[in-house]
C-alpha cells in the first residue's frame, strides 16, 4: 500500500510540538506570589464530598480537581477568584480574599434537561443542540436478549426502524435511520465507536442461505456508556460522505479522575424458546390433498382433451397397494394408512443464555481507567447454532501535564459462532429438513438408513454432523492526545484501528448432502483493516456573556484493506479426515481490495444571548472509488435554533419550562456498499479453459461515477412543561437523494448486465414524536412513561428501469413506488362455483400474464415506535417496554411453499391452513382448489401469501430489586441488585407466520420475505449485579 503521508506528517508534528512546548513553558511562568490553598467541596444536599469538581483560577487555565473525598489543593494568589464547577451542580465563583482554607457547598443544578449529548467531533449540552440527536442510555436496553447493541435499540429511537430478521443470535439486523436512500449503495448508518469508523458490513463468506453475521455484535453492550443516533443533516454533515444514512456514535465507558476504584460484576442466565411453531398437516391429510390434486388435474385434462396429462393423472398415488399396482405412479397406500413424523420438535429446543461482565473503574489525579471483561453465550432456539462472545476492554487516560491528556481505548473481542444454514436453499437447510419436508415421509428408507426427503437433508444426520463455524477476532482501538493550547484553543490528534480477522470453516461429511460424494471442506480467512487518523482544532474564545462562538477545523485520513484467502477440498478418504490437505482435489482463491478516503471539515457555531443559535459546517471528502475528476465531494450544512423560553415574554410563564425551535438544512453523501473499483473498466483473469488461464470483460467503465448526495431539511420543536415533568420533541424532515448509485441495467445483448452509475432519485419524508412524562414522583414512588412514534414515507422519484429482487421476483423497485415494494398477482377471491382463484386482470386482456403483476404494499410500516413505562418504588424497579410497527407487509414464503395444494406431492410439506381449500361448489374460502404448481391457482408471486406484518410486541419486561444499603455494606458491598427480565414475552399480530420481522435474506433489497429462518425467541433471564 502506498501511503506517503506519515513522513510529511511526522516532520510537521515535530515542528508543531516544538511550538507547543515553548507555549507551555511560557504559560507556566506567568503568575507570582503564590500560596497553597486547600479546601473541601460538599454537596449541599447530602453533605458528602464531591469528587471530580473543577477548581480553576479565574482568568487562567490553572486549576485542579477534587479527590475522592472532595478535597483539593492548589497554588493561588491571595486576591485570586476560584471558579468551582461540576456537572450536575451550579457553578460558583469564590474570591479568596487572603483565605488559604475553604469549606464550600455546591447546590444541585435544577436545570436537569441539560444532559450532555455527544455529537460529531465534540459534545454539548442539549440546550445548545441544533440538530436532531437521540441519546440512548444503554442501561435501558442492554438486558434485551439480542446479539448486538443495535438490535437492542428497536423502538427506543424515534425515526429509527430496526428489524431483527431472524432468531439466530449475532446475525445482521436491518437498521434504517429516517428511511433508505439508495438502491445499490449501503443504507446502513455509519458506526463510530470512540472516534473509530468501524466496519458494519459482514465479512461472512459461508453460505447460510442468504443470511449474514453482524460485525456490530463484536461489541459488548456492557462496555457502552452512551449511544447517540444522529439523524438530520446538521448533526451528520460533519461526517460528510458517510452521513447520509445517519450516524450511530458509541462512547464506551471510561474512569473518572479522583475516583475510588469500583468493581462491578453482572451475571445473568436465561432460557429462550420459540413462542409457537408452524401448524402442519398430518400424513393422512397430506395424502388426501395430493389425491385431490390428481383428481382435479385429471378432470382438467379430460375437459381440455390433453392426452399426456390424462395418462399422467389417471391414478392417484395414495391408493391401496393392490389397486393397479403396476400403473404409474406406484401406489403408496391409502391416505389413512400414512404415518405422521414430527421433525419440528427435534430441531427446536429450549436454549440457554449466559452472560457475565466484570469491570473495574477508577482514577487518581492524573490517571483514570476502565478495565473490563465480558463473556456472553447464547444458544439459538434451533440446534446446533450458538453464539459466544468473549471480550476485554482497557480504556486509559493520562494527564501528561495541565495541558496535555493522552488516552487509549482498546477493545479485543473473540466471537465464535457455531453456524448452520437458517435461510434459503435445500442443502444443509435446517428448516428445509425440519419444516419443509412432508410429514408423511419416514426419515429412514426401507433398509432403515436415514434419508433426506424432498431434496433436503435428513434432519437427524444434519444435527449430528453439522460442522460449520466462524471465529471473529476483532480489535478496535484508538490513541489520542488532547492539547489545551490555550484555554480557548484545543487540539486533538487521534489514530484509530479496526482490525478484524474472520476465520470460517465448513466440513460436510458423507452423511450430509453437500458432502455426499466424498466430503467437502472449505476454509476462508478474511482480514479487514481500517486505519484512521484525525486531527481537530477547536477554538472557543470568550467574547462576553452574550456571545458564544466555537470554531472547529479537522481532517481525517482513512484506509480500508480487505484480504481473503479461501481453500476448498473435495474427496476425503473417510469422515475422519477433515482438513483440506487430505482432500483429493482442492482449489483456492485469493482476493484483495482496498479504498481510501481523505477528508477536511470545518464548523462554526455561534450563540447569542443563550437565545439564538446558528451553525454552519462543511466537509470535503475525496474517495479512491471514483475517477480523478469526480473524487472530491463537498457537503455543507447550516442550522439555527431559537430558545423561545429564554425570551422575555416566556421567561415568567411557569407552565412552560422549555421551548425551542430548531431548523437545519444540509447535504450528506454516500459511497458505501459499492465496489472499491466500481468506476473502472475491468477484465478478469479467471475465465480459463482446458486448464489454461483465460481473460474476459468484467465491468464497464464509468469515469463520471460520483457520490450519491442526500439533501435534508429538518425542523423540530423541543418543549417542556411543568418543570419538565412533561417533555416533547417533534421533528419533521424531508430527505432527497440525487445521483443515487445504481447498477444500471444495460441490455444483456451488450454482453454486460449492468454498470455503476448515478441515476436514481429517492425521497424520504416523515415526522418523529417523542414524549416523556413523569407521571408520578412522590416520596418513594416514581413512574415515568416515554413514548415515541415515527412515520417515514419513502418514494423512488427517478429510476429508468424497474428492477426486481428476491425469490420469484417478489420485490420490484419502480419509479413512483417505495423501495422494497411487493410485486404480486393480486388474488381477488376464490370463485365459489369453480374453486378457482380470480386474480385482478390489470390489463384487461382476459389472460393473467406477467403484465398483471402489480405493486401491492411494501416492507415500510406506516407508523412505528415504542412505549416504555418505568416504575421505581422503594427498592423495586419495573420497566415495561413495547415496540410496535403498523402497516407493513410480509411475504410468508414458508406458507407459499406449504400451501401448494398437494401438487408438490412428496416435494414439500403441506401446512394445515391448506385444509381450508375449496372442495365443492358453494364453498367460500380464500384457498383455491389444488390444480398445479406455478399455474392458475398457485401462481408464484400470488398475493395470497402476502400478509399484514403489523405488530405490537412486549419487547422487554424487567423487574429489579436493590438490596438495602445497610444489609450489604457490612459485606463490603456498595450495591446489589437482583432482577428478572423477559424479552418478546408477548406478540400481537395478524401475521400467520411465527415472526413478522423474519427475513430470509440479509440483502437490503430482499427484505420482508419470510422463509426458512427461526423466529425471535421468547426469553426469560435472571440476573444479579454487584458493585464493590
Amino acid at each position: 500500500m502506498n501511503i506517503p503521508l506519515p513522513i510529511p506528517f511526522g516532520r510537521a508534528w515535530r515542528s508543531v510540538f516544538a511550538v507547543l512546548s515553548a507555549l507551555f513553558l511560557f504559560s507556566s511562568t506567568v503568575s507570582a506570589q503564590q500560596s497553597v490553598v486547600t479546601g473541601t467541596i460538599r454537596s449541599s444536599e447530602s453533605a458528602e464530598g464531591i469528587p471530580g469538581v473543577n477548581v480553576v483560577i479565574k482568568g487562567t487555565s490553572a486549576g485542579t480537581i477534587t479527590d475522592v473525598n472532595g478535597n483539593f489543593s492548589l497554588q493561588a494568589g491571595a486576591d485570586a477568584v476560584l471558579v468551582i464547577s461540576s456537572i450536575g451542580f451550579q457553578s460558583q465563583e469564590v474570591p479568596l480574599q487572603g483565605r488559604t482554607s475553604l469549606q464550600l457547598q455546591l447546590e444541585n443544578d435544577v436545570r436537569q434537561l441539560d444532559e450532555v449529548v455527544v455529537v460529531g467531533y465534540g459534545s454539548l449540552e442539549r440546550k445548545d443542540l441544533i440538530g436532531s440527536v437521540t441519546k440512548v442510555n444503554p442501561a435501558e436496553t442492554k438486558g434485551i436478549q439480542a446479539g448486538s447493541f443495535d438490535a437492542q435499540l428497536q423502538g427506543k429511537v424515534s425515526g429509527v426502524q430496526i428489524s431483527s430478521n431472524t432468531g439466530v443470535p449475532g446475525d445482521a439486523v436491518t437498521i434504517r435511520v429516517r428511511g433508505a436512500t439508495s438502491i445499490n449503495a449501503d443504507n446502513d448508518p455509519l458506526y463510530v465507536i470512540d472516534g473509530v469508523f468501524v466496519n458494519g458490513n459482514s465479512l461472512q463468506t459461508i453460505n447460510t442461505g442468504g443470511k449474514a453475521t453482524s460485525p456490530i455484535s463484536d461489541i459488548n453492550p456492557a462496555d457502552i456508556e452512551s449511544i447517540e443516533v444522529l439523524k438530520d443533516a446538521e448533526a451528520t454533515a460533519l461526517y460528510g460522505a458517510r452521513g447520509a444514512n445517519g450516524v450511530v456514535l458509541v462512547t464506551t465507558r471510561r474512569g473518572d479522575f479522583n475516583q475510588r476504584t469500583k468493581v462491578t460484576f453482572n451475571a445473568s442466565t436465561g432460557w429462550a424458546k420459540a413462542p409457537k411453531l408452524w401448524d402442519l398437516t398430518t400424513g393422512p391429510e397430506h395424502a388426501t390433498l395430493v389425491n385431490e390434486f390428481y383428481r382435479n388435474a385429471y378432470a382438467d385434462a379430460e375437459r381440455t382433451n390433453n392426452a399426456p396429462n390424462m395418462t399422467k393423472y389417471r391414478y392417484v398415488p395414495f391408493r391401496a397397494t393392490n389397486d393397479n399396482p403396476t400403473a404409474t405412479p406406484a401406489p403408496l397406500g391409502l391416505p389413512e394408512e400414512q404415518q405422521t413424523y414430527d421433525r419440528l420438535h427435534e430441531l427446536f429446543r429450549t436454549a440457554r443464555l449466559q452472560s457475565y461482565d466484570l469491570s473495574l473503574t477508577g482514577g487518581n489525579k492524573n490517571t483514570r481507567f476502565y478495565i473490563a471483561g465480558g463473556y456472553n453465550r447464547q444458544e439459538a432456539i434451533i440446534k446446533p447454532i450458538y453464539f459466544e462472545r468473549a471480550s476485554f476492554k482497557v480504556n486509559l487516560d493520562q494527564r501528561v501535564n495541565e495541558k496535555v491528556l493522552v488516552g487509549v481505548s482498546n477493545t479485543f473481542t473473540r466471537t465464535f459462532r457455531n453456524q448452520a444454514r437458517a435461510g434459503d436453499g435445500p442443502q444443509g437447510g435446517l428448516l428445509q429438513a425440519a419444516l419443509h419436508t412432508p410429514t408423511y415421509l419416514s426419515p429412514t428408507n426401507e433398509q432403515g438408513q436415514p434419508v433426506g426427503r424432498a431434496g433436503f437433508d435428513n434432519l437427524t444426520s444434519l444435527l449430528n454432523n453439522y460442522d460449520v463455524n466462524s471465529t471473529s477476532l476483532r480489535y478496535i482501538g484508538n490513541l489520542f492526545a488532547d492539547v489545551d493550547i490555550l484555554p480557548s484553543l484545543k487540539f486533538r490528534t487521534s489514530w484509530g484501528v479496526d482490525y478484524n480477522n474472520y476465520d470460517e470453516s465448513e466440513y460436510w461429511n458423507t452423511f450430509l448432502l453437500l458432502g455426499a460424494s466424498g466430503g467437502l471442506a472449505t476454509s476462508s480467512i478474511t482480514q479487514y483493516t481500517t486505519w484512521l487518523n484525525e486531527q481537530t482544532l477547536t477554538y472557543s474564545p470568550s467574547l462576553g456573556d452574550d456571545h458564544a462562538l466555537k470554531i472547529l477545523f479537522g481532517n481525517t485520513l482513512q484506509s480500508d484493506v480487505s484480504k481473503r484467502t479461501y481453500a476448498e477440498g473435495r474427496g476425503f478418504a473417510n469422515n475422519s479426515f477433515t482438513q483440506i490437505s487430505s482432500a483429493s482435489t482442492s482449489t483456492s482463491q485469493q482476493t484483495w481490495s482496498s479504498n481510501t478516503l481523505a477528508s477536511f471539515f470545518a464548523k462554526a457555531a455561534y450563540g447569542y444571548a443563550d437565545r439564538y443559535l446558528f451553525d454552519v459546517s462543511v466537509r470535503a471528502d475525496g474517495s479512491s472509488r471514483f475517477g480523478k475528476a469526480n473524487r472530491w465531494g463537498y457537503f455543507p450544512a447550516v442550522g439555527a435554533a431559537w430558545r423561545i423560553k429564554q425570551e422575555g415574554f416566556l421567561r415568567d410563564v411557569d407552565a412552560i419550562s422549555n421551548l425551542k425551535l430548531r431548523v437545519s438544512y444540509g447535504i450528506t453523501g454516500n459511497q458505501n456498499g459499492i465496489g472499491n473499483f466500481a468506476s473502472r473498466g475491468l477484465w478478469s483473469g479467471s475465465s480459463g479453459y482446458q486448464g489454461s488461464p483465460g481473460t474476459a470483460p468484467l465491468q464497464l467503465a464509468n469515469d463520471n461515477l460520483k457520490w450519491e448526495r442526500t439533501s435534508q431539511i429538518s425542523a423540530g420543536i423541543d418543549a417542556g412543561f411543568l418543570d419538565n415533568r412533561l417533555t416533547a420533541e417533534v421533528n419533521v424532515y424531508r430527505k432527497y437523494t440525487t445521483d443515487g448509485l445504481l447498477q444500471v441495467t444495460v441490455p444483456a445483448s451488450t454482453g454486460f448486465a449492468n454498470f455503476w452509475d448515478n441515476s436514481t432519485e429517492i425521497s424520504n419524508r416523515g415526522f418523529e414524536l417523542e414524549l416523556k412524562s413523569v407521571n408520578i414522583r412522590r416520596g418513594n414512588l416514581e413512574w415515568i412513561t416515554t413514548f415515541n412514534v415515527a412515520r417515514n414515507i419513502n418514494k423512488i422519484e427517478k429510476l429508468r428501469t424497474p428492477s426486481r429482487y428476491g425469490s420469484r421476483d417478489l420485490i420490484l423497485l419502480k419509479e413512483g413506488s417505495p423501495l422494497y415494494s411487493f410485486w404480486v398477482y393480486k388474488q381477488l377471491y376464490v370463485d365459489p362455483q369453480t374453486g378457482n382463484a380470480v386474480y385482478e386482470d390489470v390489463n384487461p386482456d382476459g389472460k393473467i400474464t406477467t403484465d398483471d403483476r402489480q405493486i401491492y404494499g411494501s416492507i415500510w410500516p406506516k407508523y412505528f415506535g415504542g412505549v416504555t413505562n418505568t416504575v421505581n418504588y422503594r427498592s423495586f424497579d419495573l420497566s415495561v417496554f413495547f415496540s410496535f410497527q403498523y402497516g407493513n407487509k410480509v411475504y410468508n414464503h414458508n406458507r407459499f411453499f406449504g400451501e401448494g395444494g398437494g401438487a408438490r406431492e412428496a416435494a414439500r410439506v403441506i401446512f394445515a391452513s391448506n385444509l381450508k381449500r375449496w372442495q365443492k361448489p358453494g364453498d367460500v374460502t380464500h384457498v383455491p382448489r389444488p390444480d398445479g404448481v406455478n399455474v392458475n391457482n398457485y401462481l408464484d408471486g400470488g398475493s395470497r401469501w402476502l400478509e399484514d406484518g403489523s405488530f405490537l410486541r412486549l419487547r422487554a419486561l424487567t423487574l429489579g430489586y436493590t438490596l438495602p444499603k445497610q444489609a450489604i455494606s457490612r459485606l463490603g458491598i456498595q450495591n446489589l441488585r437482583v432482577y428478572a427480565s423477559g424479552t418478546n414475552l408477548l406478540l400481537f399480530t395478524k401475521y400467520t407466520g411465527l415472526d413478522p420481522e423474519s427475513s430470509v435474506s440479509s440483502d437490503q433489497n430482499q427484505q420482508g420475505i419470510d422463509l426458512g429462518t427461526p423466529p425471535q425467541p421468547r426469553s426469560v433471564q435472571l440476573g444479579v449485579s454487584v458493585g464493590l
Partner: protein, 456 residues
C-alpha cells in the same frame, strides 16, 4: 493576550500549511488505489499470449452455467417429453407444461450467457487482427479468428432456436454507450448471420481433429446441423458425410455408455465437447440431475415415460445407462455424474451426424441409405435393424431414435419444433409458442426489444 493571539494565529497558519501540503501533495497519491484481482480494460488483447487467453475466455463463456453449462441445455430437454420436475424451483415446471413466462429465470440466464459469449467473441474478432506480435503467426491468428467466428455462429444458432429473431451484434461493447438500441432481426437474418460466420470460419480453421476446440471439421458438423434445420437436405447430407467418412477420428463407440462413463472424455464419439478441469472450470450440471445422496439436488429427473422407454430392451437397449435409481428408489438421470464437477458438455456427437444424414437422406427419398445410418446408431445401442419401411415411417423412427439417443441433451424440443411436430406430440397447438418469451428483464432494460407475440 495579544501575544497569545499572535501565537494562535501562527499555529493556525502553520496548521493550514500542513493541510495544504496534504491536500495538494499527498492526497492524490493517497487516493490512487488500483485493483489486484482484475486489470484495466485498456490492456487486454495486445500480443500472442493475451490473444490466446482472450479466446479461452470465449470458450469459458460457451461452457458457463447459463449456456452449455446448464441453463441453455435444460431449455432443450425440459421442454420435451422426457423429463419431470422434482425440485423446488417452479420455473422448471414452466418448460414441462409449455407455459414459460417472460419472467422465467432460466431463459434470462441463458440469454445473458449467450450474449456474453458473443461479446467475448466480438472482442477477439475486433482486436486480434490488430495485434502486432511477430510470434503471432498468420496461421495462428487465422485459427483464433476462425474459432471465434465459429463460436459466434453457434451462439446465434442457439439464440435463433430458442427465441427466433434476436438483435445481431458483431462489434464488442467497449463503453457503456455501445451496442444500444439494436432492434431484433428476423429469424431469417439471424440464420443468415450464422451461415456467414460459419462460412468465414471454415477456411480460417485448420483441418485437424480437436474435440475441445473448433476446427474446420467442427464447422462442417455444425453446417450439417444448420442445413438440416434449414431443410437443405442435400447440403446437410454432404457436410455430415465429411465427418462420417473420417472414421479413423470419429466413430460410434460401443456400448452407448462408453462415450461418458468411467470419467472418460474426448472420445472418438465426440465432435465438440466443452472441457472442464473440475476445479477452476466447473460444470455444475450434475447438481440438477444427481440425487441428494450424490450431493445433487435432483431438480429434475427422467419421467416415468422415459424411464420405461430407456429400460425397454427393444427401444432403449444399452442406453438404459442414462437412468439410475437412488436409495429411495427414485430414478435420476446419470449422464452428468462426476463428483469432481468435470463432466464434459456434449455439443456435437458423431451419433448426431449419423441421424442428421439419416433424416436428410430419408427426406431425399434415399431410404436404404437412410436406414443404414439409423441402424448404425441402433446397432451401437444393442438394437436390431429398424422395422421402418416408408419415408414417413423412417422419419418417425428417426425422431423416436433421437428422443432416446439425446434424451438428456438439448435436442428434443428443437427437433419437434423444427419438424412442426410439437403440436401433435406435446399438445403445443399455438405455433407462436414454438419460440420462448424474450426475458422480461430484457424487455424492461432495452426499449427497442419487442416481445414474441404469444407472450405479449
Amino acid at each position: 493576550m495579544d501575544t497569545l493571539t499572535n501565537q494562535t494565529m501562527k499555529i493556525n497558519r502553520y496548521y493550514i500549511a500542513v493541510i495544504a501540503v496534504l491536500v495538494f501533495g499527498a492526497c492524490d497519491n493517497f487516493l490512487d488505489v488500483s485493483p489486484k484481482d482484475s486489470v484495466s480494460d485498456e490492456q487486454t488483447i495486445f500480443d500472442k499470449g493475451s490473444s490466446e487467453a482472450a479466446l479461452r475466455g470465449v470458450y469459458s463463456a460457451l461452457g458457463s452455467a447459463g449456456y452449455y453449462g446448464t441453463s441453455f441445455q435444460s431449455i432443450g430437454y425440459l421442454s420435451g417429453d422426457n423429463i419431470q420436475w422434482t425440485g423446488s424451483q417452479s420455473q422448471v415446471q414452466e418448460f414441462i407444461n409449455h407455459q414459460v413466462k417472460a419472467d422465467n429465470a432460466t431463459i434470462s440466464s441463458a440469454w445473458v450467457a449467450i450474449y456474453q459469449t458473443i461479446n467475448r467473441a466480438n472482442n477477439v474478432l475486433a482486436k486480434v487482427p490488430n495485434v502486432a506480435d511477430a510470434t503471432l503467426t498468420d496461421a495462428l491468428r487465422n485459427q483464433i479468428l476462425g474459432e471465434a467466428y465459429f463460436i459466434r455462429a453457434l451462439a446465434y444458432f442457439d439464440l435463433a432456436r430458442v427465441w427466433g429473431g434476436v438483435p445481431i451484434l458483431t462489434k464488442p461493447t467497449l463503453t457503456a454507450g455501445d451496442n444500444l438500441g439494436v432492434r431484433r432481426s428476423t429469424t431469417e437474418e439471424v440464420y443468415q448471420q450464422v451461415l456467414t460466420d460459419l462460412q468465414t470460419a471454415e477456411p480460417l480453421l485448420p483441418l485437424t481433429t480437436d474435440r475441445y476446440r473448433a476446427t474446420r471439421k467442427t464447422a462442417w458438423a455444425l453446417l450439417a446441423r444448420y442445413y438440416l434445420y434449414r431443410k437443405a437436405y442435400d447440403k446437410a447430407e454432404e457436410y455430415a458425410s465429411k465427418l462420417l467418412d473420417d472414421n479413423t477420428n470419429y466413430q460410434l463407440l460401443k456400448p452407448y455408455g462408453s462415450f461418458f462413463q468411467a470419467d472418460v472424455r474426448g472420445t472418438r464419439e465426440s465432435v465438440l465437447e466443452i472441457f472442464y478441469n473440475g476445479t477452476t472450470e466447473q460444470n455444475t450440471h450434475r447438481n440438477q440431475w444427481q440425487p441428494q445422496t450424490n450431493s445433487g439436488t435432483r431438480q429434475w429427473a427422467p419421467n416415468d415415460a422415459f424411464v420405461a422407454l430407456a429400460n425397454n430392451a427393444t427401444v432403449g437397449g444399452n442406453r438404459s445407462v442414462l437412468v439410475a435409481k437412488d436409495n429411495q428408489n427414485r430414478w435420476y438421470g446419470n449422464l452428468y455424474y462426476r463428483a469432481t464437477p468435470s463432466d464434459p458438455s456434449y455439443i456435437i456427437r458423431i451419433a448426431e451426424l449419423y441421424l442428421i444424414r439419416a433424416e436428410a437422406r430419408a427426406a431425399q427419398e434415399k431410404l436404404d441409405a437412410s436406414r443404414g445410418d439409423l441402424n448404425a446408431v441402433r446397432d451401437r445401442a444393442g438394437l436390431g435393424a429398424t422395422p421402418a419401411v416408408t419415408k414417413d415411417e423412417l422419419l418417425l423412427a428417426i425422431e423416436n431414435e433421437r428422443r432416446v439417443e439425446f434424451a438428456l441433451e438439448p435436442h428434443r424440443w428443437f427437433d419437434l419444433v423444427r419438424t412442426d411436430r410439437a403440436a401433435s406430440v406435446l399438445s403445443v397447438s399455438d405455433k407462436n409458442r414454438y419460440v420462448l418469451p424474450i426475458p422480461a428483464d430484457q424487455i424492461l432494460a432495452d426499449t427497442v426489444l419487442r416481445q414474441n407475440e404469444a407472450y405479449r
